[in-house]
Structure formats: structure tokens, C-alpha cells
Amino acid sequence: MSDVPTIEIHDLHKSYGKTPVLRGCSMTVQRGEVVVVCGPSGSGKSTLIKCINGLEPYQSGSIQVEGIEVGAKATDLPRLRSRIGMVFQHFELYPHMSVLDNVALAQIYVLRRSRTEAYERAQQLLARVGLEDKSDSMPVDLSGGQQQRVAIARALALDPQAILFDEPTSALDPEMIHEVLQVMDQLASDGMTMVVVSHEMGFARRVADRVIFMDAGKIVEDAASEDFFSTPRTPRAAEFLSKILTH
């Protein structure tokens, strides 16, 4: 399996009704790569990564996750999704469950782990994101940064092959962004395959192998991180960079 890319997207088209959102996107993510996807709002970044785990259907083109076509009728989507974690902009912790239950739920009902094993693993992961003392808290009692770290633990609980991050820090106060990025830095250095929609250019510079720049539903630039920041090839990317970096 090592020669099959973790994620391979080819000529992906998607529209909401008559409004095109993705207009022929192609990209590949190899095992262990960290790819940051950036671009102006409305450029299709979030839609693109939601297509990867089948949360958004697409009209044409292909997405393969470990060689399996996401959009194929025969594909067992729940199984595929259990191999790809996802972290959302607004955390989306289950508000009626404790932090520990949030992290244990899918382990029990998707991976069929025993309760003991699931709760043990959940506790370990909470420790890994620095929240071992919060396992009995309810999500509402945590700060945004803490909630997002729980959400990362929840994604990790399935031992995924890759994790998709949909603007994981854009709903956070500046001082909380740091604690979430620290966890993500750690994940990256542990070798996790990550696709991160983000405007955190510091994070992109530090840990991304590649940066993908999207505009109006197209991938305009797909470059190694250092090349993207030093010499963006397209004027659109250069303009975006200058705005976001001086801001």
C-alpha cells in the first residue's frame, strides 16, 4: 500500500445548483505529508476537504483515499471516514456528552473497541493534548482552544491514516490559537498525514511540506512550502500573501 498516495484528487468538479464551487481541482497527498490549503474565502477550500471524506458529494472527477474511490456507490463511506479524521472550525463536540465520551464514542461504535479499551485510549489522547484533567467536563465548560484540542483527540481516537483540518483556529481568540497550533505541530512531527485549510501562514511555513493556493474554485498554485513563501509563481498568490502577511 505504501506506493498508493493517501489522497489523490483528479479534475474534481462540484457545484451547488448552478453555482460552480470547484472547477477542476487535482492534488495528491502522500503518506506523512503536511499540506496547507489557503486562499480567499469562497475559493472552495473547505468544500474541497469535505469532499475528501464524502461529507460533500461531487459531480465529476475522482477522489481516491488509499486507492478507494470516495464517490463510488459501492464505497463503504463510514469505513472510509473512520480512516480519515476531521477537525472542524467550530469544534463540533457533542454538547450532551462529557469530553471523555466525545473521544470514546466512535471507538466503541465504529472500531468496536471494548468500553474499557476505548476509555483508556481516550484518556491517553486527552493527556496527549494536555487535557487529562478535563475528561469529566462538559464541552460548554471548556475554552475554545480546549474544545478544539478535544476535537483533535476525538479525531486521533480512530488511529486515522490522515486528518483533515477545516480552519481549525479561525474561530479562536489569538491566545488560544497558539495552544492548538502546538498540538498540530506535534502531530506533524509525529509523522501524521495532514491536510490543513488555514490562514496560519506561520504554521504553514514551520510545518507544511506543501502549500496549495486556491482561488475561485481552482488550485492556482501547488508548491513546496519554502518556494511558495519566497517566490509565489502567480500574481494572485503573491497578492494574497502580501495582504495576509502584512495584516
Partner: protein
């Protein structure tokens, strides 16, 4: 306590018990029916979903007394079975309150935000598991106030059963009144009794909501 009430206390208490008994079973049956109808509509089962919608609209557009007359006279005649006033009333109340509860439950299911459903799906849970572990528990908590409102309405509705001959609290009171004619005393007494029943239920609903409501 007024003499007419004391004299007829065992009879009236029996009527009260019938009211409580009828309310309780109608509540249970109606809740089960409501959850079933709401789920079928929420997951949009083809054909069956439309049938449920038609049933709910039919009940909502029909007076309660007419529903009871249907379950007492029309259905037994149509399907050739024997019924009692009590059974017919119970069936009528279950159908009636079930239809209203279905809409409350469905509103609760729909109040869970779609991104939370996506989060559940993203972890590999299937649609039923998301419904069971993520949507339903939150929906149940959020609909406690409207659902208890229906339960309270139901207690009061049970008095209509007296018209098809059930000796519930109202039925018993009407019989006592027919014999001895103390309308003010008798009707005040049963009105207060209904009030106490409803108020207790309302307090229970409030306490449950205070305890279980999901804080966001």
C-alpha cells in the same frame, strides 16, 4: 369538605383514578407513536413519510371529540371488532396526542445543527448511529418543554372521554351532579383537581428541563 363530595368520595376517587390511568397510558402510547412518526418523517422514508404527514394533518384538523367518536363507533364498525368506551378513548387519545407530539419531536430533531451531524458522520458513525447517539439525545432534551405542554393538554383532554361514556373524573362528577345537583361545588372541586394534576406535571417538566437541558 362539602358534604356532597364527602358522600361521593369513593366514587369520585375512582373517577380520578380512571383519569390518571387513562392519561398515563395515553401519554406512553402517544409518546411512542410520536417518536415513531417523527423519526419516519425526519429520515424521509419514501411513501411512509408522506402517509405519516397525512395522518398528522388529518388529526390536527379534526376535533378531539370527533376522533373519539371515530374510535368508538366508526373503527369497530369498519373493522368488525368490539370495543369499550375506555379502550376507544385510549386509542383516540394515543392517536390524537401522538400526532401533536410527532411534530414537537420532529422540531427537536431538526434543531440539531447540521455541522454536528457532519462531525458524527466524519468519525465513521453511520446515519442511524448519528441519529441515536448525537441527534436524538439532544432533541429529547430540547423538546421537554413543548412535550410536557402536550402531556398537560392531554390530562385536560381526557375529560372529553366522559362524552362516550367513560367514568373518568368528569364522568363521575356529571353522574353525581345528575343525582344530587350541586353544580358549583362539584365543578369547582373537579376543576381544582385537574389544576393540581396539571400543575404537578408542569413542575416535573420544569425540573427535568432544568436538569437535562443541553447547555451550548
Amino acid at each position: 369538605m362539602p358534604e356532597v363530595i364527602v358522600q361521593n368520595l369513593p366514587f369520585l376517587l375512582q373517577g380520578l383514578w380512571t383519569t390518571i390511568d387513562l392519561s398515563l397510558w395515553s401519554t406512553l402510547g402517544g409518546t411512542a407513536l410520536g417518536i415513531l412518526l417523527a423519526t419516519i418523517r425526519f429520515v424521509r422514508v419514501p411513501v411512509l413519510g408522506t402517509l405519516c404527514m397525512l395522518f398528522i394533518e388529518f388529526i390536527r384538523g379534526t376535533p378531539l371529540l370527533v376522533v373519539l367518536l371515530i374510535t368508538y363507533f366508526a373503527l369497530p364498525a369498519l373493522f368488525g371488532y368490539k370495543t369499550t368506551a375506555y379502550s376507544a378513548a385510549l386509542l383516540g387519545f394515543v392517536l390524537f396526542i401522538g400526532a401533536y407530539l410527532a411534530e414537537d419531536f420532529r422540531a427537536g430533531l431538526r434543531s440539531v445543527r447540521p455541522s454536528l451531524i457532519q462531525a458524527g458522520l466524519a468519525t465513521g458513525l453511520n446515519r442511524w448511529q448519528v441519529l441515536r447517539f448525537i441527534i436524538a439525545p439532544q432533541a429529547v432534551r430540547s423538546v421537554i418543554p413543548p412535550v410536557f405542554n402536550q402531556y398537560i393538554r392531554l390530562i385536560k383532554f381526557t375529560s372529553v372521554a366522559s362524552i362516550i361514556g367513560v367514568t373518568d373524573l368528569t364522568g363521575a362528577a356529571l353522574l353525581v351532579n345528575a343525582r344530587q345537583f350541586y353544580p358549583i361545588t362539584i365543578l369547582t372541586t373537579i376543576a381544582l383537581t385537574y389544576f393540581v394534576l396539571c400543575y404537578v406535571l408542569s413542575l416535573i417538566g420544569r425540573a427535568l428541563y432544568a436538569h437535562y437541558a443541553v447547555k451550548m
